[in-house]
Every structure is written in structure tokens, then in C-alpha cells.
Symmetry: D2
Amino acid sequence: MTNKKMKVVLAYSGGLDTSIILKWLQTEYDAEVVTFTADLGQGGEVEPARRKAEMLGVRPENIFIDDLREEFVRDFVFPMFRANTVYEGQYLLGTSIARPLIAKRQIEIARQVGADAVCHGATGKGNDQVRFELGYYALEPDIKVIAPWREWPYASREALINFAEKHQIPIAKDKQGEAPFSVDANLLHSSSEGKVLEDPAVDAPEYVHQRTISPEDAPDEATTVTIDFEKGDPVAVDGKALSPASLLEKLNSLGHDNGIGRLDLVESRFVGMKSRGVYETPGGTILLAAHRGMESITLDGGAMHLKDELMPRYASLIYNGFWFAPEREMLQAAIDHSQQHVTGRVTMKLYKGNATVIGRESAHSLYDQDLVTFEEGSGSYDHRDAAGFIRLNALRLRTLAQRKARLDPTKTRSS
Amino acid sequence: MTNKKMKVVLAYSGGLDTSIILKWLQTEYDAEVVTFTADLGQGGEVEPARRKAEMLGVRPENIFIDDLREEFVRDFVFPMFRANTVYEGQYLLGTSIARPLIAKRQIEIARQVGADAVCHGATGKGNDQVRFELGYYALEPDIKVIAPWREWPYASREALINFAEKHQIPIAKDKQGEAPFSVDANLLHSSSEGKVLEDPAVDAPEYVHQRTISPEDAPDEATTVTIDFEKGDPVAVDGKALSPASLLEKLNSLGHDNGIGRLDLVESRFVGMKSRGVYETPGGTILLAAHRGMESITLDGGAMHLKDELMPRYASLIYNGFWFAPEREMLQAAIDHSQQHVTGRVTMKLYKGNATVIGRESAHSLYDQDLVTFEEGSGSYDHRDAAGFIRLNALRLRTLAQRKARLDPTKTRSS
Amino acid sequence: MTNKKMKVVLAYSGGLDTSIILKWLQTEYDAEVVTFTADLGQGGEVEPARRKAEMLGVRPENIFIDDLREEFVRDFVFPMFRANTVYEGQYLLGTSIARPLIAKRQIEIARQVGADAVCHGATGKGNDQVRFELGYYALEPDIKVIAPWREWPYASREALINFAEKHQIPIAKDKQGEAPFSVDANLLHSSSEGKVLEDPAVDAPEYVHQRTISPEDAPDEATTVTIDFEKGDPVAVDGKALSPASLLEKLNSLGHDNGIGRLDLVESRFVGMKSRGVYETPGGTILLAAHRGMESITLDGGAMHLKDELMPRYASLIYNGFWFAPEREMLQAAIDHSQQHVTGRVTMKLYKGNATVIGRESAHSLYDQDLVTFEEGSGSYDHRDAAGFIRLNALRLRTLAQRKARLDPTKTRSS
Amino acid sequence: MTNKKMKVVLAYSGGLDTSIILKWLQTEYDAEVVTFTADLGQGGEVEPARRKAEMLGVRPENIFIDDLREEFVRDFVFPMFRANTVYEGQYLLGTSIARPLIAKRQIEIARQVGADAVCHGATGKGNDQVRFELGYYALEPDIKVIAPWREWPYASREALINFAEKHQIPIAKDKQGEAPFSVDANLLHSSSEGKVLEDPAVDAPEYVHQRTISPEDAPDEATTVTIDFEKGDPVAVDGKALSPASLLEKLNSLGHDNGIGRLDLVESRFVGMKSRGVYETPGGTILLAAHRGMESITLDGGAMHLKDELMPRYASLIYNGFWFAPEREMLQAAIDHSQQHVTGRVTMKLYKGNATVIGRESAHSLYDQDLVTFEEGSGSYDHRDAAGFIRLNALRLRTLAQRKARLDPTKTRSS
């Protein structure tokens, strides 16, 4: 009787935690592990993950390493920025938006290698487990999902280190103890949370920041930069056309240097609790302001107001892991439809934490100097039209006031 | 035969334009003019308006000068900030929110003096005419409204100056020519628009700014300040209890000194055109960030997300002049209901244009360190619950994926 | 050593299923069971539940039987109808709206008797488990919740019957086999689901209907009835003032006799699946139409449109069990604010399944015959105002068309 | 000096009112009139309009008569029904949806014949003037619009009849006096308003109904019919494929015969007043119910709830005349995206005013009998998952309850 091993595709960073998971899958599940390591621009090399996986006994054909940076920015980050998306008024969703892509690629690999299960390293209290798993299930409804942090018995850091030592998993010196905070990073942002950040009354220490210098350390001279847009997406910086990932990298570099994009936030997790995170989104912060600036002259007011009303729900869908849900796609269809004329150039001033639009121009502009000028301008506008406009807009308010007076005559003018 | 004169209550600033209107009402309408001058914290004295009105022939009992600063901030600005209100993602509605109060007081005076009409100095292309007049009609449905800019024949600045000279209206030297831009101000903000600002591609010149120094000129040291909230409204700065107007003045001063609150925006007017304005809202910008910070630990996620979805419409209602409309009041009822626990203290860092929350604390906090910690915490949270939570949230996505596979078997894993 | 028994408050109908649960709690949990039986107008006596509980060994002081009909209608049904609430366009939420009240009363009793836990008889696939438990937790966050259907090992009807027989629980003859469908009922509605209804392609058999005769069986003559409203709630039928529960009973009787209020629906459950139910809401169906009719002349259009946009979310919150969530209360505050003038009389025609508004009148009416007449009416409306109203509403559309022509001159008229 | 006549395209019904307008344009504007008569299924011939126009001196090449029925239903009615659109909870927008098509065709003709202006016969108090003119301006921003009812001096019916007689416009006997109500009709609906309908307290007389028999007069036997859908649009009745217009005609006939689709409504006009109309939408009423039925098994709950929330705004946009506005198109993009699987068959029962879904089936069904059954079904659902689902959904409610208890200990259970 054959005893076929379960085959599991693990989202593998090469770090200590996912290495422990890798070994745990091999030992506890007796699984054949397939590792998938994505370069999403988190910084650092991904190739060491290959060596580490090999060292932990993963067969070479079971090691997948993909550079997903362009796809990440083009198909996930940019569509999200078309909506000026922020969660709870502020968070640019840097972690949330990466999860569906990882899930998607993991499922593709699972199909390719004929795997039975997928596995991720997200903890049992966070949002990421939801985002990964909703992605898995939406793409492969009968896949088995393994979430070690919800399953294994290791309740403390010490127990995990013991497991690692027992299985000869190399542990970097600085990982012996507990990290003072936990980090996630990709081309869009870095996040830090936990430990030293757990008291929201206490300022985040400077050393948690990794992607930006502080506004105080930024240059005393402002940097001016132009960003060109086509149909809602940025395509060039200072006139130089760039691929999506290269463009975001360029903005990240500008943001980093000018202390732009830090956010210290207490947010409402989908799983029901409040948590505090420190986010750094240097390029994204510039991009959000620039995109709003581009829309300000190219997007009709009615369309903009609808977008603004839809945005919070769109943001929650992404935050909660529903990227592949039909209602996210419906909102995306509406948003994308609005962007066909969001084309032109925005000039930004970057200065010590501030990313400010100082100019916008476009062949698609709806701004009409003739129309808006105090002087008599084009024939499109007749001042007297405003009288009728106001009177009909006022009609229902007048009717309401008349009712009030009728029902309570003591409140009326004539009394 | 009696020849009773029409009595008109004019919103009178004491400036050249409303002085011309005053005289025009007297000469063209043969009206008895009642002036109403409000101190909304626009800066400068309001008493000179009395002398000027007297000089233009207004009888002393027909001159009304009111200090409305506390009412303005308490009953208009603070309710609006409870909603984290911004129009088109950015504008803090400093002009819009003052209009309903002026309209309301003007109608009260009209009732008191038995006036037949009210009159304002807003132009025929802007939003303010709508805001004034919707306010008038909502409060006094049969009032006659006079809007000189839509009625008189003076098509150029020169014609107006001629009228002024003809009627001995004193003209300040610097008003002989045309102002390089037009200004509105109150305790919440200053706005500048027109002329030198009419090309949205060109950076706003430094000299249009009146309420803030530039970030570049702000101190190299950050200022730290605490703001205390009670039920959604700020009540103290650095622990010192302040009345609404005094508190906003204090924040304005802090904002001014730290280069905070400038906005250069192209917006969509209610009357249908795009216009460009430069807004300075120093205290309001700090307040918006602080209020969001306070809500971040005291407001439930579900309530916050609903607020965020309602906000753009609430903002449009205020922007468009519908403060007294029932749907604005309905939204206010919902918003106010959410604020009963938005109480506590926020610590802000102010630095060269940045207003950043660096700490929040509250006896009403919903943040639970025990719940969120990576370590095993309180018994309220069981990691395994997340598995069921995810699986049921995923159920409809799985059903959708199964349908897709059923209808297009070539796309399935097993193929 | 004391061996204090766990004390559990059970939502007890007196039927077979909850009797089995009662016994199971006594035998498996070794619990002291407190029964709570609510009269929500489900029909039939509630007193037999007392005798049955006694027979099953519940001590008299542990038996709670409450008539909650007035509270149910006044504090739950009527507030919901103020919003014209329907789920997925059609369902009047008759089951959903009863659950929070049962949960609330159960928690009150738990506090009174010092119970450790609460228990309900809802199954593990339905919405009701969610509604009960969200209610419990919202009111008593640390209560223990027992959900037998998710816990016990009885996977089939047969196993349950065996348990019942073993514990001498009397089983009505017609309960020996499986019911052809499952039922929930209260003063607002009856629902039927399962078994014979599980194929949504097949028409529901006539015998599942319990609260209405069929339209075919209803009289050939229409019944005309008036309903009076005060601030959004019905207060009288045919001029006779009635308490909330009596009024709903009266409308139920009228609806029953005229074949009104049947709905055969496939709906989306909160737990992620589609299910099919047959609902009968005779009085509620009349009330919904009448309330809309009353609003049609007393509620401002702006307020009505906001209500209509908020309603689907409000409905989902109730359907999903979030009655006690702050966002439901926020929406209620907005809705209730809108109802202050929804006062007057509606005349309804009831005929073979149709509940039709044929007249409405109110001292609070906003309908103004003078205004709307084709003839020249009151001075409030000047036809020429419409020209300006239209031109300014059109301005942004014209600007968009001009852009289109500018960018693609081949599409313009002049070409 | 050339004296080129103004050329005007008139939306011409052939009736008395638009004949008077035609003559008025010729005499008062000295215009060359081009008539456009559309067959939108209003009933009656359109060819007589040709003879009448000729008789009134319109040159043959200036007479345009188009059968737009298929385009009307396919490109306007069906897209609207994909959204389950109703205005103010009830009105199926039969008049509103026809106006943009007439405006579009009128502009096309204006371009073809090189006209200077377009003209319609809508009055100055209604919505139709807005719908026509917003359509004109959105498609041809600089077109001149002539709205005789807002311009001419004829304040009474008598004055108009005098004008007609003076210009030898033939007047049907029954048009000598005033009609007891005014009518609009097309393939989707007939509307009646004014005069005998102006008191909303009084029941609409039977004789105003034109497209339906009364429920009382309908057959005593129910009619059963199936409707097939593809991607959200109906394509066949009783298995017989039909073109859009033919299908709607078929449903109209079925609705007519069964007394379906009458609505007596007081609605809020865009121009600010309440008005009362009697609408008959026999086929549309059946279609709305059938479409909801089709969606109930084929549309995901998340998508459906988003649609339901967007619908009221979508309805207002159409009602207010913003069919060509970008936000209507954005919403349409979202709605259309949702319809790709709304394919299958619905069985309807039609009986004396009731249009009831009694069965639905689809290869695209999301209804899963295995999942929903009370018995243990497929492996996709584990009852125990519901516990975790509920506990995490409850977490924020528990935190809120804990805060409440903390702040007011007298309210807690332990007290």
C-alpha cells in the first residue's frame, strides 16, 4: 500500500518563523513541503531563501522564487490607488494589498505541483490569516489550509526557539530573544507593530522606522517633482517614463529622503480588536496626494463624490481580505470607469514630511478659467441662472418651513 | 397715500463691496437698510463697520453688530468636526460652515425689525450665494432675497468704483485697483481665490497666505501639545479648559506658528464649475487629526466605518448650503450618537506643516492590550475561533469558485 | 468540597426540541436549568410550557413566562418599520427582529437568578444562532453560551428521538417522524423552511402556509381600511386607537383574510449560504405599504432618499444579528429623526393579495396642490426658475461634452 | 444681408400641444421646424404625425419618424432593470427612462440637418424638462434649447386654444375642453397625473387606467409563465425567445390581462415639489419580480447587498435626468459587472394584481441543497465553525459592553 505524503505549498520568507513552520510541516504533518518565496520589494535578497529551504531538506524542484514586483504594483497597488483608498481615514493598506497576490501565486503553484494544501505564517489574532485564506478559498474552494499559529502547541517564544534548536534550524543571534516589534514590508510600505508599540499613549520610538528618515532629519530645502498620469495610473516621474515598480521605487526614494509617509495608527481589525501599528508608505503617500491632485482638474464632481462615498467600503473590503469578492470587483469596475480622463501632470513639493500638490495641468482638464473668472467670461454662464437654481433647490426647504409655521404659528415671522 | 419703504437686512462687512451694496439698496431700491455685521473671528475690528454704516446714512437702531464666535464654533464648527468632515478628500469647509449662521442671524434680525428682504454680497458664480439663500429660505420661506451681484448692471471693477465715487463712498488706496485675489476669513479659516490663483498649474504665491507661516519658516523644534475631548468635542489644550472659540483660537495660534493647515485645491463648485482656492485652516487641521486620533481608541470599528461612509455626503450637504435640510440633521443625529464615548486625551506633535498624533489615552478606550498582544492574553480570544470565522466568511467565495469551476471545467485544479 | 451546579437560562418553547435540550443540559452538563418562555404572539398558549418544564424537573422558581408582545411590537417591530426595512428587496425580517428581544430578556433573567450560562435551540447552519449570541455577548460580554446543536453528537432525527424516549420526554404523535418543514412564528410573521421547500424550482405547497389564506380563497370584494400614524408609528385602524400589539394583530387579521403577505424567497444567509424560506407577514405587509404612503406626503424628498440609501445596510444589520451594535443605533437615530412629521391617515385597499394605498391625508402634508397644479398657482413657483436650475445642473455635463469634443474633434457637431 | 432662418428640431408627438408649439416656433421664432416623432411603443400610429406636420407646413425632408422600440428596451429599459430600480421605493421610472433616448435622437437629427436649436413640449413645473435638457446639453453642450412652456405668454388652456384656432390647427372635439388628467406612455408604462388626481386623499378613478384591467376584472384563474434570463436580461417567455421590445410587449399583455402593475404614488419631483401620479407598468412589474427571483439564486449576497445600497442613488440619477452623467455610468459599470451569471429560468404566477415568483432554476445557481439541508450534508460546512464565526463577530460588541460596565459598574451583572 502506498503511503502518499501530503504536499503543502508554504509561503516562505526564509526567516526564522517560516523556517520553523517548514520543519514543523515536515515533522508533524509528515508533509512534502513546497516553498514559495515572493519578491514584493520587501528589501533584501530572496535567493538566500533558496539555500535555506534546500538546507532544510526541500527538493530543488519544490523551491519557487518569483519576482512579483511589477505585477504587485500594476495589478494591485495601482488599482487601489485609483480609488484614493485609505482605511479608517488614514491607512494606505500596504500589508492588506499584498496578501491576495501571494495567495494567488501560491494557489497557482499548488495546481502546478499538485499540492494538497497551502500554508502561511500569519498569527491567529491578526488580519493576515483572513486575507490569505479568503484568497485561497476564493481561488481554489476545496484546498486544505494549514495555519500553524492556530494549530501548534507552542505558546511562547521560548517553546518555538526550543523547537528550532532541536531541529537544527539556524537562529540569527538577534533572533534569540524576542524582537521589540514585528515587521511586514513590501514595495508599498513597511509596518511595525507589537511589543514596544503596544501602549498607544506612548510615542513610537524613532528606531522602529525603517523606510523613512524623520522629517527633522530631512533636507531644509524642498524637492519639487512632477508625476505624469495616464487613465488614473502614474507613468512618469520628472518626465521620465517608468514601469510601475520602478516608479513606486522612485517615489519611495523621494519619500524616504523627505521624511514622508509615516503613520502611527490605532486601527480596528476585522477580527474585532483594536491594534496599533506604525506604517511607512513614502511613495504611496506622495502618490495619493498626486492622484487626488490629478483628479481635481480631470474628474467630474459628480463622479468624484460617488467615488468618495464608495471608497470607505472598498477600503474595508481590501482590509478584510475580500479582494476576490464580487462586490470588490463591482466597485473596481465603477472606479476604473471614472479614470479614463485622469491623465496629465501634477507638480509636487516634498518637504520634511509634507507632500503637497502645487500645480496640475492636463489636456483633459475640466477647469475652465473663462468660466470661473470674476470678470465676465464665456457665454456658458449667466449669473441670473443662479437665481433659478437656488430657488428650485430651496423649494422643498421652503415647503418644510411653511409646514413648521403652519403647525406652530408662534414661531412665525408674522406673529 | 403712504409710501412705505422696503426694509432690507444686509450682511454688511464694512468693506468697500458691501458699502457699495448698501448705497445701491438705498438709491436703486429706495430701501431702508439695516446692517448686520458679525464677528466670526475674521480678524480685525467690527466696530468700524458701525461708523461706516452711520456715515452711509444707516440709522443707529438699524445697525446690528454681534459677536458670534462662540456660537459659530460650538454649534457649527464642532458638530462638523465630529464627522471628520472634508470635501473632496481635503477641504475643511471653513467658508461653507459660516454661511448658515450668518443667514440665521440675518433672518432673526429681519423678524425683529420687521424687514421685507435680506441681502448678501456673494457673487453670481460662487457657492456662497446658494448657502446664504438656502439658509434664508429654510428659515423664512417667504422672505424676499436681494442678490446685487446678480442684479446690478456693473460688469467691471471700474464701473463699481465709479458708482462708489459718485456716492462718496470712501475707497482705501489699495482698493482703487483690483485686488490680486479675493479673501474670506473666519475663526476656522482663510480662503483666497481668483486672479493670481486662476491658473491651477502655477504655484500659489507665498503672499496669498495670511493665517500661517510657511513650513520652511516654522521652528526647527517640534511643539508637543495635548488636546482633551469630551463626547467628540475638544475641551482643553495642554490641560487647560477653554471655551470653544478660545480653544480654536489657541489651536490656530499653534498651527500658524508651525506652518500647519495650508491647502491648495481645485474643487467642484455646486454651481457646476471647477475653481481653485488656497485655504488656511491651522487650528482645524490640528483638530481633525486629533479627533481622528481620539476616535481611534474610543470609537467602535463598525460605527467608524459607517461614519466614514456617511461623511462625504454630509460634507457635500454643508458645501452645497443644505445645513438646514432634514437629511443633514438626520446625518448629524447619527454622527452625534456615535460620539458619546469620544472622550480622552490626544498628544500631538506639530512640526513644519505636520500635525501628527503621537499618543492617545482614555478611560473610554476600546483598545485592549491583553487582547492584542502576541503573547497569550486574556480569555476573550481563542485563536481557534479565527478558523471558523474565516471559513464562514469564505463560504460564499468558495461557492462562487465552485460555480466557476462547474461552468468552465478547464479552469479547475483537477484538470 | 462544594459542588456548585452550573445554572443555565434556556430559551424554552415547550416543544420537543427545546425539551430535549432541557434534559440534555440536566444530564450532560449536570446543570440547573432555568426556563424562559416568551409570548411573542407566536400563537398557542405559553402556559403548557410551564407544566412541561415542571414535569422535566425544573423548579417552579426557575420557570419564567413573559408576555412580551407589546414590547416586541413597540420597541422592535415599529422602529424597524420606520425605516421601511426589507432584506434583499423583499424580506420583512420577521424572525430576525424577535431574536434581540429574546436575548435581552434571557440576559435579564440570567442576572436576576445569577446564572452562569444561556442556551438557545438554534441550529448550527442558520442565522438565529448568530442573532441570539451576538445579543447575549453585547449585553453580557462574559456570559457562557451553550449551543446544543453545535455541541451534541446527535446527527440525525432518529438519534434525538432516541434520546427523548430514553428520558421519558413525551413526544406528540405527529413529531415521531420528521416534520415536512420547520417553522418559526411571532406576532409579525410565520416562516417555513426546509424539507419540502428545499428545491427552489418547486412551488411551495399550499399547506405550508399558516397565517394567511391564499389570494384565490380571499373574498371577491375589496376591504377598505384606514391606518393612522403618529411620528412614523401606526396608532389606529379605522379610527380606533390600538396598542402596538393589538394594532398589529388587527392588521394580521385583515391581511390573513385578504391573502396578503406571502413571500417565497431564496435569501443569502449571514453564515454564507443561500436558503429558501416561505414567509407570511400579513399585517407587516399592509403596514409597510401604509407607512410608505404616509411618508409620501409628509417626508421631505431629501430625507426620504437618504433613508432609502441607508435602509439596505440597516436591514442587513438586523438580519445579521447586530441590533445592539452602535452602527444600528446610529442609523436608528437618523431614521427616527426623520419621522417627527410622519403623522396622518392612510387609506388602504386590501384585495386578494394586494395591499394598495388609495388615499393619504395629513395636517403635516408637504403636498401642495397650489404648487403642483398645471394652472398658474401660488407665487412660490416661477416657471422661469426652471431654466436656471437646469442650466446650472447641466453645466458640468456641458463641460464634459466640451472636453470630449476637444479631445476627439471628429465626434463634434461642427465637423 | 442674408436672413438665415433658425432651424429647430422639435420633439413632436402629433398631438395638439406639440402642434401648437410647432406653429409657435414658425410664427414667433420665424423658425424652420424639423419634427422628430419617435415610436417608443406609446400605442397608436406615428404616421399621422407625418401628415399633420406636413399640413402645418413642415417640409417632407424635415420630418423624422423613427421606430425606437428595440433600442429603447435594449439600451435603456433593460440596463435599468438590471439594478432592480425603483424610485422612492416604488416607481419604476417609466417616463424618466424614455427621455434620454428622445434627447439623444433629437441631437443626432440636429447634427444631421445642421439645426441651431432643439425644442420639447414639457412644462415648466415638471421633471421632463430637466431630463430632456440635461440630455441635450450632455450630448451637444452649445445647443440652443427652446422650452415653449417656460417662454410663451399663454397662461391658460383657453389662450392656447385661441392660438390654435387662429392658426387653423385642427382640434379634436375631446380636446376642446381640458383633459381630466394628463398622460405619458411608452412601451414600459403609462402615467396619468393632474386634475382629477390632484387630491392625494381621493382614490384614483378607474377610468384613468389605460394599460391594465383592474385586479377585480382579471381572471379567477392564475396564469403561470416562465421567463428566461441571460446575463441579467430577459430573453424568452414560456421558452420562446423574443427580441427586447417583443418580450416587453408580451409581458405587458400578460400584465394587462391579470391586473398587474398599477401604482398610485405621491412622489418628490427634482424641481422640489410633491406630485401625485398613477402609473401602470404591467410588464415591468412582472419583470422586476422575475429579475429579483433570478438574482436570488444566481447573485452572491455580497454583490446583491452592494447593488441594493447603490440602487436608490441610481434611481434618483435617472429620475433627475442624469442618464448621461459619469456617475450613472460608473454605477452601471458596477451593476453590469454583477450580472454575468444572472442566467436561468424563473417561473411566475400572475393572479389578480399579484406577480409572484414560484420557482427559479439555473445552471449558474449558487443555491446548494447539500449545504443548506438540516441533515448532515457536504463537507463544506462544519457546525463548529459557526462558534468561531460568532465569537469573532461578537468581539467588538463584548469590548463595548465591557467598557459600559467599567464606566458604570451599577449596570453590571455582578452588582
